[in-house]
Structure formats: structure tokens, C-alpha cells
């Protein structure tokens, strides 16, 4: 990049901006594309009733196992084909978005909330409180999640509730550990010492000083979790402990389509692709947010 410089005056600025522009374009992709994907998914979830062309749970037996409309043998009615019972894959995907996203949102809020509260408490209070909370975290982290899901499925039956419970009971622990680290660091900072000198109570410090300063980390953690939770829900549904047939969830659709992978690949492929897209988008967005919120020493 640094070519020979003679003693003549200023190089045209365009040359420098040129290099940074390409970099910026690529960076732009990493933001806009995932954002658009997520927005599309959210719209699908919210307006499923209006967008979906067919009923996701009722199928016409006569139209079963039709390939996507752009392939040979497909009907224009069913854009992405139909499944075993003749249900429209596209409609099921659209309704499935609703399930996948609402499950993730709920779980993220619950686990994030509990994890943050316990993490801040442990990090600021230290001593015995910290020790007790962290031991519980250790247990939660080492407990096999799948086993818990199975037990819950046996106890209260598979379904939405089971998925949420299974992933929430253990899911907060990861947050707690990370937030605790952040909280400990902030508790050592000068402005917290100032607050103590000013007579602020522990609660005030935790709420007014520590929490606002961990929000950045929290947001990044949460966005990165979106993908993981959708995958987890998909896995649970695929295994039969989560959302079950006939309700459309991307995970259960993949489960359904497994048996027909060689003759009707579209039943599993499209929901699978959606899962992948959302996970990727969540990750990209999370990275982008983390970079944006990172305090830079120089604006260069």
C-alpha cells in the first residue's frame, strides 16, 4: 500500500479513500444483509396470517409430495412444494418463523434477565453470595440439557412450554458467569469508589452504575444467542421433545423431512436453510453490534 513517496506535495486523497472504501463496502454487507434477513423473518412471524398462502396445518392429500414450483412437476400454487400430507412448505415455514422467533425471544429475555441479576449480584457482592451463586452456575452449566429436556418431555409432555422450560432452566448460567466477570471489573472502577464515598447504597450502585455499563456486553451476548437457541429448539423438536407434529416449527419440519430426503428433499431443506440463515444473521449482527459498541481509542 505504501508506494515510494517523492518529496512532492500531497497525494490525492482518493487513493487513500479507495482502499478504505472497499473495506467499507464489505463491512456494509456484513450489516445490511443480516439485518434484512432478520427483518424479513420478523415480518413473516408477525404477519403470518396475511402472508401465508395456505393453511399450514391442513393439507390436500391429492397434492402431496409436490416439488417446488420452479422445478419440474411443481405447481405454481405451492412455491416451495408440499410435504407428506400435502401441506404447503412455504406456509409452514412462514408460520414456523413465528414459533422459532417467539421461542428465542422469550428464552433470551428470561435467561438474560435471570443471568444478569444473579451475575451482577455475584460480581458486586463477592464473598459468600458470589461463591453460592457461582456453584449453582457450575451445576447448571454441567447438567446435560438434553437429559433435562427429555425428563421434562416425559413429565409434562412435549411442546412449546417444554422447550422454553428446558432451555431456560439451564440457559441463564452462561449469562451469569459472563456478567459476573464484567460486574467485578466495574465494581473495581474509580466511579464506583466515588459512589461509595458519596454514600450510595449497594443496590443503587448495582442498578445505577454497574447495570448500565454491562448493557453492551449483554446485548452482544443476547444477539449471539438467537442463533443458538433456534438451533437448540430445532434440535429438541427434531428429537421429539419440543414442538411436535402437526404444529410447524422449523425443527419439526426438518424431522419430518428426514425420512424423505432422497425423494422429497425440499421438505427438510428449506426449513433447514431458514435455520441456517437466521443463525448466521444473528451471529453477524451480534459481531457488528459488538464492534460498534466497542470503545475505540482512536477514531481511525
Amino acid at each position: 500500500m505504501f508506494s515510494t513517496i517523492s518529496t512532492t506535495k500531497t497525494k490525492t486523497k482518493k487513493q487513500y479513500r479507495g482502499v478504505t472504501r472497499t473495506a467499507r463496502i464489505i463491512q456494509g454487507f456484513a450489516f445490511w444483509v443480516p439485518l434484512i434477513v432478520m427483518v424479513v423473518m420478523i415480518i413473516m412471524a408477525l404477519f403470518a396470517n396475511w402472508i401465508a398462502p395456505h393453511d399450514p396445518n391442513q393439507g390436500k392429500i391429492l397434492d402431496r409430495l409436490l416439488p417446488p414450483s420452479f422445478m419440474e412437476g411443481g405447481k405454481s400454487d405451492y412455491l416451495l412444494g408440499t410435504d407428506l400430507i400435502g401441506r404447503d412448505v412455504l406456509s409452514r415455514i412462514i408460520y414456523g418463523a413465528r414459533i422459532s422467533l417467539s421461542v428465542s425471544l422469550l428464552i433470551i429475555l428470561v435467561t438474560g434477565g435471570i443471568g444478569t441479576i444473579l451475575g451482577i449480584l455475584a460480581g458486586y457482592a463477592g464473598g459468600r453470595t458470589d461463591a453460592i451463586i457461582m456453584r449453582i452456575v457450575d451445576v447448571a452449566l454441567s447438567f446435560p440439557g438434553l437429559l433435562l429436556a427429555m425428563l421434562l418431555a416425559v413429565a409434562i409432555g412435549p411442546g412449546f412450554k417444554t422447550v422454553v422450560l428446558a432451555l431456560s432452566i439451564l440457559g441463564w448460567a452462561g449469562y451469569a458467569r459472563m456478567i459476573r466477570g464484567e460486574a467485578m471489573r466495574i465494581a473495581q472502577s474509580d466511579f464506583v469508589a466515588q459512589a461509595r464515598v458519596n454514600g450510595a447504597s449497594g443496590w443503587r450502585i448495582m442498578i445505577r452504575h454497574i447495570f448500565p455499563n454491562i448493557i453492551n456486553s449483554l446485548i452482544v451476548l443476547m444477539t449471539l444467542q438467537v442463533g443458538m437457541i433456534i438451533l437448540a429448539e430445532a434440535a429438541l423438536s427434531y428429537l421429539g421433545f419440543g414442538i411436535s407434529v402437526p404444529t410447524a416449527s422449523w425443527g419439526s419440519m426438518v424431522a419430518d423431512g428426514r425420512a424423505n430426503l432422497d425423494n422429497a428433499w425440499w421438505i427438510a431443506a428449506f426449513p433447514g436453510a431458514c435455520i441456517g440463515l437466521v443463525v448466521l444473521s444473528g451471529n453477524f449482527l451480534g459481531d457488528w453490534i459488538r464492534d460498534k459498541l466497542d470503545p475505540r481509542l482512536r477514531q481511525l
Binding site: D190, A193, V197, N198, G199
Partner: protein, 326 residues
């Protein structure tokens, strides 16, 4: 005489345990502060001078009750702090003693607006309405030379010098009697330091404030102080009136510090005292040297210095801890 003393530290000691192993056994002690006594008068400035590791910030933290003393006592307005209940401390001590820290970038919550930063002490202690607090904040900011438009801004929108002024405004919020200034200007640009130091002097005159200044820069110390205490490895080695100390330093360490801080020009070195350069470094407070703690680096040390601990003796108007003054 006694009623002029605002704060007195009597033989304060702070040891930190060093733990090792799974069961966290205590294997040693970091003797950060090892028997320090001094007093600060109303309206006067005392400076605590020492290098890193000497224990200055530790002493500040003890006085601010951010940590608990291992032994010794701190008397404020003649009352022993450790005999007061937490309620009494919150009502009678906290409002009167405040803290301006070294680093203007980390001493404020970056997520709080200036009005909340400066208003916090008022809000926490007086339960005033937000509006009234804001009014007080504007007055405080004016006193330190920051305009009222600043109240809704965030700390990062201000320069280092301005933030230090805001920190001072916060420290003045509850009309304190004593401000602890921990290296208040060392993180600032040279040309800004003078502004802030002048501000401190003006405020002292105006409000009869006492300052405990922690510093390692002797020139700053001389400009601001009435009395000076020199700290080495957790103990005071010399203590007394500022001008006397600078005119006639007694302890070898004091002499070395002054020599290191002077503006000696090569051409002037004939005639002025030879530059004193100490060998080695400050030993670890985990394992202080026997006898006089300074003897390992002292050019005037003799056999006795490594065996007997010197006592703090009065020489003229000063107190010195050195065998050569007995």
C-alpha cells in the same frame, strides 16, 4: 491548638494477606501501611509524598473508609471513626470528606449525564427533588468554571481538564471540610495543570477547605502544601512544615527525591549540590528490610541502620525517622 485539627491518623496499619493453595492459607502479609501518624488542620493542605508501592493510595482508601484498618485509629473532628455507627458515618462523616481521583476518564460513570454525576452525592444524602438538585448542580459547576449548558452532556464530551473540574464540583457538592486529592493533576496536560492547581487554591481560600494531597511530583507538592509527609515503604520517614522541609531536607530519601525532581541544568551543576541518584528499587512490602527500611538504598547507611529500627524524632520543627539524627 487541638481544636484546629480536622483529621488525625494515629499509628494506622494496613496489612493485606497473601493466600495460597486450595484452602487459601495465609502465607504472608503485604505490609502496605505500617504505623503512620499525621494530622491535618482546618483550612490547610497536607501532602503525602511517596513513590508507587509506598502506600499512599492505601492510606487514602483507609481514610475514606473504603477499606478497614488492620489497627490504629482515625479521628475526625476528634471522634474516632471506628467507634461510630454506620448511620453516624453516613450522616456526619461522608458528607464532609470527599475524593478527587487521579484519572479523570475513569472517575465518572460514562453512562451518566453530568447533572447526575455531580448531583449524585446530593441526591443520595438529601432526598431533594430532581429539580432542586439540578439547580445546585448548576451553581457548583459555575464555581469550577464549567458553564450551565454542560449539565445534560456526558463525560466523554469534555476534555481531561474539564472533567477534573467536574470531579471537583462533585466533591464540593455536600460542603465538605476535607478533600482527598489523589494525584489530581498528573494525568493532565502541563498547561492545564496550572489551571486546576490555581482552582484548588482559590477554593481553599473561599471555603476554608482542608486538602490531603497525594502526589509524587514534589514541585506540585511545594506549590500546594502547608505540611508534607514523606512516605517510604509504608512508613513516614520525614514529616513537617512544607517550607522547612524543602529548605532543609533531613532524611536521605527526602534529599534524593528533591534531587530527582529538581530542574538541574548541566551548566549549573558546579555550585549546586551533586545530583543524588539512588541505587536499586523500593523493596517489596511483603518483605521489608530489617532495621531502617531505607538502608538498602541509602548512601549514608551504616551497620546500625540494618539492625535497629529508627524512631521518629523531632528535629527542629520536623519529625524524622533516621539514626543520623539522634
Amino acid at each position: 491548638m487541638a481544636t484546629k485539627i480536622l483529621l488525625e491518623a494515629r499509628d494506622i496499619v494496613k496489612h493485606y494477606p497473601v493466600t495460597r493453595g486450595l484452602l487459601q492459607r495465609t502465607v504472608g502479609w503485604v505490609r502496605a501501611v505500617d504505623g503512620v501518624s499525621f494530622s491535618i488542620e482546618y483550612g490547610k493542605t497536607m501532602s503525602l509524598v511517596g513513590e508507587s508501592g509506598a502506600g499512599k493510595t492505601t492510606i487514602a482508601r483507609q481514610i475514606l473508609l473504603l477499606e478497614k484498618l488492620t489497627s490504629g485509629s482515625i479521628l475526625f473532628e476528634e471522634k474516632d471513626l471506628y467507634k461510630m455507627t454506620p448511620k453516624e458515618i453516613k450522616a456526619e462523616y461522608r458528607p464532609k470528606v470527599h475524593y478527587v481521583q487521579q484519572n479523570p476518564w475513569s472517575s465518572m460513570n460514562p453512562r451518566m449525564r453530568i447533572k447526575d454525576v455531580v448531583g449524585e452525592p446530593i441526591y443520595v444524602n438529601n432526598k431533594q427533588s430532581k429539580k432542586d438538585v439540578d439547580k445546585d448542580v448548576v451553581k457548583l459547576l459555575e464555581q469550577v468554571g464549567i458553564g450551565a449548558e454542560g449539565i445534560n452532556r456526558y463525560p466523554h464530551e469534555f476534555s481531561g481538564g474539564q472533567r477534573q473540574r467536574i470531579a471537583v464540583a462533585r466533591a464540593l457538592a455536600l460542603n465538605p471540610s476535607l478533600l482527598i486529592l489523589d494525584e489530581p493533576v498528573s494525568a493532565l496536560d502541563v498547561s492545564i495543570r496550572a489551571q486546576i492547581m490555581n482552582l484548588f487554591k482559590d477554593l481553599q481560600k473561599k471555603f476554608n477547605l482542608s486538602y490531603l494531597v497525594i502526589a509524587h511530583n514534589l514541585a506540585t507538592v511545594r506549590y500546594m502544601s502547608h505540611s508534607v509527609a514523606i512516605l517510604y515503604l509504608g512508613q513516614l520517614v520525614e514529616y513537617g512544615d512544607s517550607e522547612t522541609l524543602f529548605a532543609r531536607p533531613l532524611h536521605p530519601y527526602t534529599k534524593a527525591l528533591i534531587s530527582a525532581s529538581q530542574l538541574t541544568l548541566p551548566e549549573d551543576s558546579e555550585g549546586k549540590a551533586k545530583q543524588i541518584i539512588l541505587t536499586g528499587e523500593m523493596p517489596s512490602p511483603l518483605n521489608p528490610p530489617s532495621g531502617c527500611r531505607f538502608h538498602t538504598r541509602c548512601s549514608e547507611a551504616n551497620e546500625r541502620c540494618s539492625k535497629d529500627v529508627p524512631e521518629m524524632r523531632k528535629v527542629g520543627k520536623q519529625l524524622v525517622k533516621c539514626h543520623h539524627y539522634e
